[in-house]
């Protein structure tokens, strides 16, 4: 009954692909899944692009511009911060919430990928999508007149990296404790609330007094203000970086403590 044809292929015992190949495959899978999902693309590219063009070309919102500042100078870095929030927080929270319910996290935990590989792949997938967002939205911003300081690319990238860690950890925390429907509602609500009053697109300076101070301490405000500073004069907003590092540390610890895989 043992058929030579059937056993000849089983010479090599099963083994995992190398760690980097597994994580790269997962990152590719995650980025591909995000970019194929219509709602995600709406959230991560279409809405930020509309906000960008709408606010840069009109004066419907008071942006509290300083003398000589153009709307696009304030709005373009803010929209990039909004794009990071969309992908790293809102998109990740919703996707993780539903993946948790449908058992995707459990199934992937049994594959050679494992939980650590899944987490690493997700974060890299988010970063890959962010690169696509920055390229596309940056091109739109330049087309409507944005002229950022090229030196600001480095501090900007650093802030995006740390903000991604903080926002992804917050997304996992949210997705790990609430039902997916609640995650969907909360994540979208937070996105809309931070868009309006989180220091993303509308600078903290244009917000009412005590609120402005608070916004500087939010991850959204820190990222928005930090990217504005980087694009304006190419310098690193150290306070913003420290705020984001603190959020990343606390959120990662909390997610580690409360996240549930099933």
């Amino acid at each position: 009954m043992s058929r030579p044809g059937a056993t000849a292929t089983a010479v090599d015992g099963p083994s995992a692909a190398p760690l980097l190949a597994r994580v790269a495959a997962q990152a590719r899978w995650e980025a591909g899944t995000m970019l194929r999902n219509g709602e995600q693309v709406l959230l991560t590219l279409v809405l930020p692009a509309l906000v960008l063009v709408g606010l840069a070309r009109t004066e419907v919102v008071d942006l509290g511009l300083a003398a000589g500042e153009r709307p696009v100078d304030v709005v373009a870095p803010g929209v990039l911060a909004l794009a990071v929030l969309s992908t790293a927080f809102t998109g990740q929270a919703i996707a993780t919430g539903f993946d948790r319910r449908s058992g995707v996290l459990r199934l992937l935990a049994t594959t050679p990928l494992g939980r650590g590989g899944l987490l690493a792949g997700r974060v890299l997938g988010v970063l890959a999508v962010e690169v696509v967002q920055v390229v596309l939205l940056g091109a739109v911003a330049v087309a409507v007149g944005w002229r950022p300081d090229p030196v600001g690319l480095l501090p900007g990238a650093l802030l995006v990296l740390v903000a991604t860690a903080a926002l992804t950890a917050l997304a996992l925390l949210l997705a790990g404790v609430l039902r997916p429907e609640a995650v969907l509602a909360v994540a979208n609500l937070v996105w809309a609330a931070l868009l309006v009053g989180g220091g993303l697109v509308v600078p903290a300076a244009a917000l009412p007094g005590p609120w402005a101070a608070l916004v500087h301490a939010l991850p959204s405000g820190a990222l928005g203000e930090g990217l504005r500073r980087a694009s304006a004069d190419g310098t690193l907003d150290v306070r913003a970086l420290l705020v984001l590092l603190a959020w990343a540390a606390v959120a990662a610890l909390a997610a580690r403590r409360w996240f549930r895989w099933d």
Partner: protein, 334 residues
């Protein structure tokens, strides 16, 4: 050469004795899975209560039990998805928690979970290719997909697949890494008969290549056809274990027929020897058990003839696994 010698075992052989097949790599006992005294509690409720379980390389062990018997908890403990509260679980010769932490060990274990675990927005072939990339020596994805008829719905997202299509994709996902130990949690639930045969063929092929399979099922026919070893569980405990043929041979022969419900069995009981028991376990379904000999058969049929009752589906024989199961648990599987 993992478990190659174990492929030729005839179905129905008694596996109560230790496995006789060639031991797989890294597992001196030849056991793909060895569970001893497994306990799993959720708060005050004990889901698995001291369960013993073995899966030999190159064979199928079926875990049979009604809903809530502890089957899925057992599978989850064996996959490292849940931490056991007691007992030991050895997967391919290594402790389960150590095995679950090792990517190469996970590569050697395939799982088809009951909740599927397939990402709902994914397209089948893209998902299968992705899972294959996690392995160093995966199966040929196109050939596997072809066998399971996946190309017919390759462009449909998992969300829109029928239950049977999802099952087939989940099985492909479990097989893609050429596992040496395969967990199948109700693999053919919701499949049409043709798809079921394909699944059985694939499981037999994996077994012929030396894989050990732990199968949970409600389908006793499936257990009888596929498994060399059956463990009947209820309340988290093993009620009976053995080869399907051994389990059914434990019971005596019986005569069964169906007729209108509620027949007066009193006269029949009087007409038959005292040690023969007559019962109607379900309305219209009659069982005569004990020392069923030609005299008893004649007694039953003449009693029917006197009353003008047609004994439909009249049969004499050993009980099926389903009947053994019913006797042990007092519950129906379906």
């Amino acid at each position: 050469m993992a478990g190659r010698g174990a492929g030729g075992r005839a179905g129905g052989a008694d596996l109560d004795s230790p496995a006789v097949g060639g031991p797989p790599d890294g597992s001196p006992s030849g056991a793909a899975l060895r569970v001893r005294g497994l306990v799993k509690r959720y708060g005050a409720r004990t889901a698995v209560d001291g369960l013993d379980l073995d899966v030999a390389a190159g064979s199928v062990t079926a875990l049979l039990g009604p809903n809530g018997a502890g089957k899925t908890s057992t599978v989850e403990c064996c996959l490292g998805l849940r931490r056991p509260d007691g007992g030991s679980v050895e997967v391919l010769g290594a402790d389960v928690l150590r095995a679950a932490a090792d990517p190469d060990h996970r590569a050697a274990v395939g799982a088809m979970l009951q909740d599927g675990g397939l990402p709902t927005s994914a397209r089948p072939l893209r998902l299968l290719r992705h899972l294959a990339r996690l392995h160093a020596h995966p199966r040929d994805v196109d050939a596997l997909a072809e066998r399971l008829g996946l190309p017919a719905f390759a462009r449909t997202s998992v969300r829109r697949l029928s239950g049977g299509q999802r099952q087939r994709l989940a099985l492909a996902a479990a097989l893609v890494g050429r596992p040496r130990l395969l967990f199948l949690d109700e693999p053919t639930a919701g499949l049409d008969p043709a798809a079921r045969l394909v699944v059985w063929d694939l499981v037999r092929e994996a077994v012929a290549e030396g894989a050990g399979v732990l199968l949970t099922t409600h389908d006793l026919d499936e257990a009888e056809r596929l498994a060399q070893h059956v463990v009947i569980v209820d309340g988290g405990r093993a009620l009976a274990t053995g080869a399907p043929g051994v389990l059914t041979a434990r019971s005596t022969a019986s005569l069964r027929f169906t007729a209108g419900p509620g027949l007066d069995l009193g006269p029949l009981r009087q007409a038959l020897p005292e040690d023969v028991v007559v019962s109607e376990p379900a309305p219209g379904s009659y069982v005569v058990s004990g020392d069923v000999d030609p005299q008893v058969v004649a007694g039953v049929t003449s009693w029917c003839a006197q009353r003008g009752v047609m004994p439909d589906a009249l049969s004499v024989g050993r009980p099926s696994l389903e009947e053994v199961f019913l006797d042990l648990t007092g519950r129906s599987l379906r």
